[in-house]
Structure formats: C-alpha cells, structure tokens
Amino acid sequence: MTDQNNAEINITHLARLGRLAIPKLSHASTEQELENIIAMIDAMQSVNTDGVEPLSHPLDSEQLLRADVVSEPDSRTAFQSNAPKTEDGYYLVPRVVD
C-alpha cells in the first residue's frame, strides 16, 4: 500500500486542511519528506491486528464527568491581553461578510 499511498500525497490539499501556506517552491521537497515519513510509518501495516480493540487512553481509564455548573471566573480581560487585536472585548479578524 506504500506506493499507492505515496502517489496520493497532495501538498496543496494537505496544506489547506492544516491551514499552512507552503510556498510552491518547496512543494517537491515537502512531498519527499512526507513520503519518507509515510514509508517509515507504513512498516506498521505488517502487524496483524485482527480482532484487536483500539486503545485510545493508555490505561483504558474512564472519562471523568463533572456537574454542569460554572467553575471558572470571567477572565476575558486577562485572556485578551494576549490577543494580537481586540476591540471592545471582541477579537478582531479580517472582514468575512460584506
């Protein structure tokens, strides 16, 4: 499956999904690096996992639940002190709707 998958690495598509701007000039080298990594990763395909349940938490522990009550104070000012651009308590982004 290695060859088949490697042929399908589409840097433009992946960069868009990952919200990264990859300059056209480095597409080829990025693709080569990813191919090498995917080839390394594909070594795991030879392991027989028939009938094995996926493990998402290393110790299989249960998700903790808490009551649905407010537990955090309002920290808007503190949090927004790190924001690059704010106005009147709002985060500013380029205009999305005209």
Binding site: A21, T30, I37, P58, L64
Partner: protein, 477 residues
C-alpha cells in the same frame, strides 16, 4: 541545599541570588534558559524565607528550580520554544507549577526546548539550540534539553520536564542526570501546553533519585481540571517528604527485553550496571516485548495526529503570532501559522493531517491504536513474570549538533527505547550508568502503572553503590 536552608547557613534569597548570578554568567555556553526570572525568583525567595521563619517549610521551600518553558507560569513568558508564542504571557499557572509554588519552591527561569516539544535534540527551538555540558559540540537531547543541560551544568539542582515519547528520559541520558517520566495521569496536564494529549506527561529532572522522588511527591495529585488525571491515594508518595523513598522488602526480578539489546553498541555498560544491581540480590531474566519494532511508526501516527489537532488552536486571533495585513480570514490563518511554526512542527501537522484525512483514518489512526494495545499487552504480560524492566535509554550517547538535523526519519529512530513505554502509559526512569568517550550513558528502569516507588527504590539503591550520578562535566570521566 535544603539542609543548609534548614540549618540557617544561608537564606533562600542568598541561595537564589547565587544561582541567578551563576546562570547569568554561564547560560551563554549552553543556552539552557529562554527566560531568567530574577525579579520573580527573588520575590518567591523572600516568601520562602518567611514561610521558613513561620515554621511551616517543606523540604523544597526556598530551593531554586527551573521549569521547562511548556508550563504556564503567571507573570513570566511561556514560549514553548516557538516563535508562535514568543510573546505569550500565560494568564494562569499550570497545576503542577501551582503545587510546587505552594511547597515554597523558587522559579529562577524557564528552560529551552524543542518547539512544542517536538524533537530529540533541542535543535528545533526558535531560541536556538542548547549544548551538552559534557561536550559543547553535541546535543543535550530533547525535547527537555534545556532542563537536562541546566541540571547537568549545575545551574539548578532540579528542573521540570515533559515526556511524550522520551523527552525527559533521552535528554537525561545524554546529559548524565536522573529523569523520571511518571505514569500517565500521575501529574496534572492542566496548563501544560499540549503536544499529544494521550501521551504527554510531566516529570522531574534531577541529579539523584532522592530528589526526583521528592519533586514527584509535590508535583503529583488528582486535578479535576485535567480529565485524564488519576484519582489515587498512594501512601508511599505522600510519605516521601518525611520518609524518603520506600525501602524494598525483597530482592526483585528484573526483566531484560531482548528486543532492546539486539544491536546495542555499548552493551557492556548496561551489563556492568546489572552486575551492580545483582549485589543487592536482584535477579535478571530475559523477557520479550514482541511488538517493539512497531512502536516508532505507531507513535508517529498517534503523536502527529494529536499534534495536528492540538495545534489547530494557533490561529493568529486569540493569542500567539499574527501575520501583518491579512487580506482574508484564510490568509490570516495560513500566514500566521506558517510564520509562527518552525519546520518540524509543520512537518508533523502535515503528517497528522494526512493520516487523519478521509480514506486514511482507519488505515493509520485506528490501526495505530490497535498496535498500541498490543504494545501495552506486551508490557502487561512481561510484568506477570518480572517486577521491573531494565533497558538502555537510547541507542547511542549524545550525537553531534546537525548530525541528524537533515534527516527527520533518522532522528525519529532515536526514540526507539523510550516510545513503547509512552504508548503504554507506564512510568520509567533514566539515570547514568557509565561513560563512553567522556559521554554519559543512560539506563532505563520501567515499572508497572503507578509503581514509581519500585523504580525509585531500585534507582536509589544503584546510586548508593555507584557514583555515576555524581560526576560533573569537566571532570575526567
């Protein structure tokens, strides 16, 4: 140090000033620190002296330590080694920092690291590489390279680190210090910047097992703000401050996983360490962890997938780097992230995006989770036969700066002996057990979940009858 403070030989302010002067003088040789926090530290030191005068000190009260720059610290920069967060002031403390503050610790600074903890050499830091105190042309390991280097250099006695696939243990091995990755869930992840959430775990980096145990006892504990925090009551852990590391009541059976010794270059050093441990009556037995070879690919699928998800929060809007004059929201996201992240971080985001994308999810992510269970089962089976496992920490001693920088896949292989434990969530400690050409070699002790006591007990025994952990860079090894 704690005894000196207790006896009144010096105050914490004096001790802290001496540490800060030393760090300011010598940090340029190692680049271990991103932030040196004089004002913050002296304020904490004064409070520690007052805490001692009031008669309620802990063994850590007034002791200067350093935090890896991945832990949120109120009032100090928290950069995670990235341009993205080079101006980020966390509005709150991580739970672990909060706990150590309550014990009266003094934070003298924040240590350098691979960007977002992604790396095995500390060469991926926006703030420049860190050097290894044993040989300045070599790497300290990573990603907690600044903490390891600072402890080995004697700039601080204790530092904190984080370990996702070996980021405490491998730099501890490269720098000749003791580093403990506790069981997943032992120390709260709240306020610790996320890389791969199902693997990330904080831990202490120190010279001795005794200090590591003491740090662990104050760093640990259930935290409702971390949904994966373990809610446990381990009496040995809370008793460490008074009783030290628990003594073993019997000799142990220690397993040697044959897959870890297959092509080992410096096997004679690990064999000599076994001979030392045998003096305490411990016996050794070969065991097998058959899925070891699959661990690296499995780890890189899971860690990259989780990283690409966790790092989606850096959008140039709420915090972190923002590009100039964005023309659209998409442009803002893409340029802010591309300018703010370094090459390795982008590589992992792309890898994670690929393996999580439509059509590949089952073949990669789910497949990796299944192998993760097989790896975990391997360890469970081994622990039916033995109490503890002993392995080398890393395939080689510290390599040269730039040696693997151009070959990510070769760099990933560095984590061969540390990644399986991370996938299984188990506790493991690295400590020095010899030298090759003046470079320290680390041995790793791996225990069953939540049995850091067994690991620390054996490590303390070993350090009582050997002096590898007392060697300092510059002395003849």
């Amino acid at each position: 140090m704690s005894a000196g403070l207790e006896a009144g030989e010096y105050t914490s302010v004096e001790l802290t000033n001496a540490h800060l002067d030393d760090i300011e003088l010598r940090n340029s040789a190692s680049n271990s620190f991103i932030t040196i926090a004089r004002e913050h530290a002296l304020k904490q030191a004064k409070a520690a002296d007052a805490q001692r005068a009031n008669g309620n000190p802990t063994p850590l009260t007034g002791i200067p330590i350093a935090h890896k720059d991945i832990f949120c610290t109120e009032g100090l920069l928290t950069t995670c080694g990235s341009k993205m967060l080079s101006n980020f002031h966390a509005p709150y403390n991580s739970t672990m920092v909060e706990r150590l503050n309550a014990a009266g610790i003094v934070t003298v600074g924040k240590t350098n690291m691979d960007e977002f903890a992604m790396g095995s050499s500390n060469e991926n830091s926006f703030f420049g590489p860190v050097t290894n105190p044993w040989d300045r042309s070599r790497v300290p390991g990573g990603s907690s390279g600044g903490s390891a280097s600072a402890v080995a250099d004697g700039l601080v006695a204790c530092a904190t680190g984080t370990d996702t696939g070996g980021s405490i243990r491998q730099p501890a091995a490269f720098c000749g210090i003791t580093g403990l990755k506790p069981t997943y869930g032992r120390i709260s992840r709240y306020g610790m910047i996320a890389f791969a959430s199902s693997l990330d775990q904080a831990g202490p980096m120190t010279r001795t097992a005794e200090d590591a145990a003491l740090m662990l006892s104050y760093m640990s504990g259930f935290d409702p703000r971390d949904s994966t925090s373990a809610n446990r009551q381990d009496d040995w852990l809370t008793a460490i401050a008074h009783n030290g590391i628990p003594k073993l009541d019997r000799p142990l059976s220690i397993g040697l996983p044959k897959e870890y010794f297959a092509d080992l270059a410096n096997a004679e050093i690990i064999e000599a360490a076994q001979a030392e441990l045998a003096k305490n009556g411990h016996t050794f037995k070969e065991v097998s962890l058959p899925h070891t070879q699959a661990a690296i690919p499995t780890y890189y699928v899971l860690a990259s997938a989780e990283a690409s998800t966790n790092l989606s929060r850096y959008d140039g809007v709420r915090y972190g780097h923002r590009c100039n004059n964005p023309t659209s929201l998409q442009d803002l996201y893409e340029r802010s992230r591309s300018e703010g992240f370094g090459e390795e971080v982008k590589r992992r985001i792309l890898t994670g995006t690929y393996t999580l994308s439509v059509g590949y999810f089952d073949a990669y992510y789910i497949k990796a989770q299944k192998i993760r269970r097989l790896i975990s089962n391997d360890f469970n089976k081994a622990f039916e036969e033995v109490d503890l496992l002993m392995t080398p920490t890393s395939p080689t001693p510290a390599f040269r700066l730039n040696e693997h920088a151009q070959d990510p896949v070769a760099m990933y292989q560095q984590d061969l002996y540390t990644v399986p434990t991370s996938l299984a969530g188990l506790p493991a400690l690295s400590m020095p057990c010899g030298f090759v050409n003046g470079l320290p070699i680390g041995m790793q002790l791996i225990g069953p979940a939540f049995r850091e006591d067994t690991i620390l007990s054996v490590a303390a025994q070993f350090q009582q009858i050997t002096d590898w952990h007392k060697r300092h860079p510059g002395e003849t090894a």
